[in-house]
């Protein structure tokens, strides 16, 4: 075996794997532009004979993908932002303020949450939001999403804040700065890398969440993409091109985000699993 052949074996195996990863996406993308089911069935790999863009308009407006899309966007954004701010405030209090004994209790208490698998709490959370009277409103997703992200967020942000030197805020205290200004003007700007990581992880988690959004929301106008897409598939089962268009709509924003922030995303998601 020559050296070149031996060297190219890893590449050949990896390219085969990459093809397995990418083929489904290409199949969906091409199908979304095809005119009808027969064209999909007879030329699964081929480019569409005529690029049909009407599918996109139809899915976006008539099939209400736009409604799901904006619901997802605003829920994922708002609960990620609120979660990051709450976790940052708590991390600041437990790492920088002088209440060490209580702080270590608070920290341990919040971290217990990382041991509990999400779907174990599903029924109890369902009954809870029912009791709170917020079932079938966006609150029933916003609150669990925000709460669910807290343990991981506190873990990561607190670890980052601990590494900020204490001299900084001592100087600030001597200069008579208030706690709030210290938090917002000194500590928070220094923590931005951790905040961004946590924000991305939370945003992706919320954007992709299915179980709660499917069972806590029954009004179609309030559904998010993952649950709305399932609804959409069941309604348009036989119109393959249209459903493929829906898939493109829900996958594309994440992929665009991924191309720009891949390092941050990989770092954040893997940090969450290893440290947990």
């Amino acid at each position: 075996m020559t050296a070149t052949v031996r060297k190219s074996i890893p590449h050949m195996v990896m390219i085969a794997y990459i093809v397995v990863i990418l083929a489904p996406f290409l199949f969906i993308l091409f199908s979304s532009f095809k005119a009808n089911n027969t064209e999909i069935a007879t030329h699964p790999f081929g480019l569409p004979k005529k690029w049909v863009f009407e599918n996109y308009k139809e899915a976006w407006v008539k099939a209400k993908i736009n409604v799901y899309f904006f619901n997802s966007l605003y829920l994922a954004l708002s609960s990620a932002v609120v979660g990051v701010l709450l976790a940052a405030a708590t991390s600041f209090a437990i790492t920088r303020m002088r209440f060490n004994r209580i702080s270590s209790w608070v920290y341990q208490f919040v971290l217990i949450g990382m041991l509990i698998p999400g779907n174990v709490l599903f029924i109890a959370q369902y009954l809870l939001v029912q009791k709170l009277g917020i079932l079938d409103t966006h609150w029933s997703l916003f609150l669990p999403y925000t709460a669910g992200a807290l343990p991981f967020s506190v873990l990561l942000i607190a670890a980052f804040m601990r590494s900020i030197p204490h001299e900084l805020e001592e100087a600030a205290v001597v200069d008579g700065m208030s706690v709030f200004r210290m938090f917002f003007q000194i500590v928070l700007p220094l923590t931005v890398p951790a905040l961004v990581t946590v924000f991305i992880v939370n945003f992706l988690g919320n954007w992709n969440e299915y179980l709660l959004s499917f069972f806590f929301i029954s009004k179609d106008a309030l559904r998010t993409l993952p649950s709305g897409m399932v609804q959409f598939r069941d309604a348009f089962q036989t119109n393959y091109a249209l459903v493929c268009t829906g898939i493109v709509f829900s996958v594309l924003p994440v992929l665009v985000m991924y191309t720009f922030l891949q390092r941050k995303i990989i770092e954040g998601l893997t940090a969450g699993s290893v440290k947990g």
Partner: protein, 293 residues
């Protein structure tokens, strides 16, 4: 001097919202789960305390036992098939210089997507009429396979989709560990004449054992957490062939309103997760450390 950082009201203001929200959506549901698990509540009648009946019934329930078995299949598949493949792929990626970044980001990509959308996507790949796989089979003159409706194929189909989604995530974890190994160890072995395969098997794999253990633990936890993909692709069918513990629990609670029984099942799932990871820690991880030192 430090009164600013000792103000208890500010401390409360910063900590209380988090604690309140966390308590309400984590601790309180956990406590009520334990309570409901011992009652026969169905959402309508009164809650009666029934002791361990729900737990005993769960293990007498043939459908639930069947879903436990399916979870075990998923667990075995991820530990015995996926993990070795993951290690091999990570070694391959680490061995190349060109395209390393491209391979890494591409294999990771499916794990950032929504499981429900991936379920829909693969539903089309498996579709008997227009699906990708059946188009290929037909090109070879074979009969179409009803992957998701056939008892023999449904679980395998879900296993493949699940592996497709998550393998890249673990590959990146292991790859990071491999790339963190100091280069001189590998170079010394190379000078001694060890081949690439020898170096990978006798040097790299022993050095990354701790992270492989982490991946196995995550796979065990992940196998017990599988639910979205089943609900989206098959709903547990055909005839329970793909039902897992969590999907069975969700259906019991939401479709039939058996909240008491459902929460008992969720506690069993939690117990399984704790026991299996603890067992793995005690039996495998501890013993390995003894060998190494």
């Amino acid at each position: 001097m430090k009164t600013t950082l000792r103000n208890p009201y500010v401390y409360l203001l910063f900590v209380l919202p988090t604690i309140a929200l966390y308590f309400l959506f984590f601790i309180y549901p956990m406590l009520t789960s334990v309570y409901y698990g011992f009652t026969n509540w169905n959402g309508l009648d009164t809650k009666d305390f029934v002791g361990f009946d729900n737990f005993v019934n769960a293990f007498k329930d043939a459908d639930f036992r069947n879903s436990i078995v399916n979870n075990l299949y998923i667990l075995l598949f991820s530990c015995c098939v996926q993990v070795p493949l993951i290690v091999v792929f990570s070694l391959l990626i680490s061995s190349v210089k060109r395209f390393q970044g491209f391979y890494k980001t591409t294999v990771f990509m499916p794990s950032i997507l929504s499981t429900s959308v991936i379920g829909i996507l693969w539903g089309y790949i498996y579709d008997p009429d227009v699906g990708l796989i059946n188009s290929i089979l037909q090109a070879f003159g074979l009969e179409p396979i009803y992957f998701l409706a056939d008892m023999k194929w449904a679980l395998v189909s879900i296993l493949i989709t699940n592996a497709w989604q998550w393998m890249g995530f673990y590959i990146v974890l292991i790859l990071a560990a491999i790339l963190a190994i100091p280069k001189d160890i590998d170079e010394a072995a190379m000078i001694d004449g060890a081949t690439g395969v020898q170096r990978a098997w006798y040097l790299t794999v022993p050095l990354i054992k701790p992270i492989i253990n982490v991946v196995i633990m995550l796979s065990i936890a992940g196998a017990l957490r599988v639910v979205d993909i089943v609900l989206v692709m098959t709903g547990g069918g055909p005839a329970g062939a793909t039902d897992v513990m969590a999907s069975y629990m969700v259906n019991k609670a939401i479709k039939y309103g058996d909240y008491g029984y459902g929460t008992a099942l969720s506690i069993i799932i939690f117990a399984f997760a704790l026991v299996l990871t603890a067992l793995y820690q005690i039996l495998i991880v501890r013993r390995q450390e003894k060998v190494e030192y």
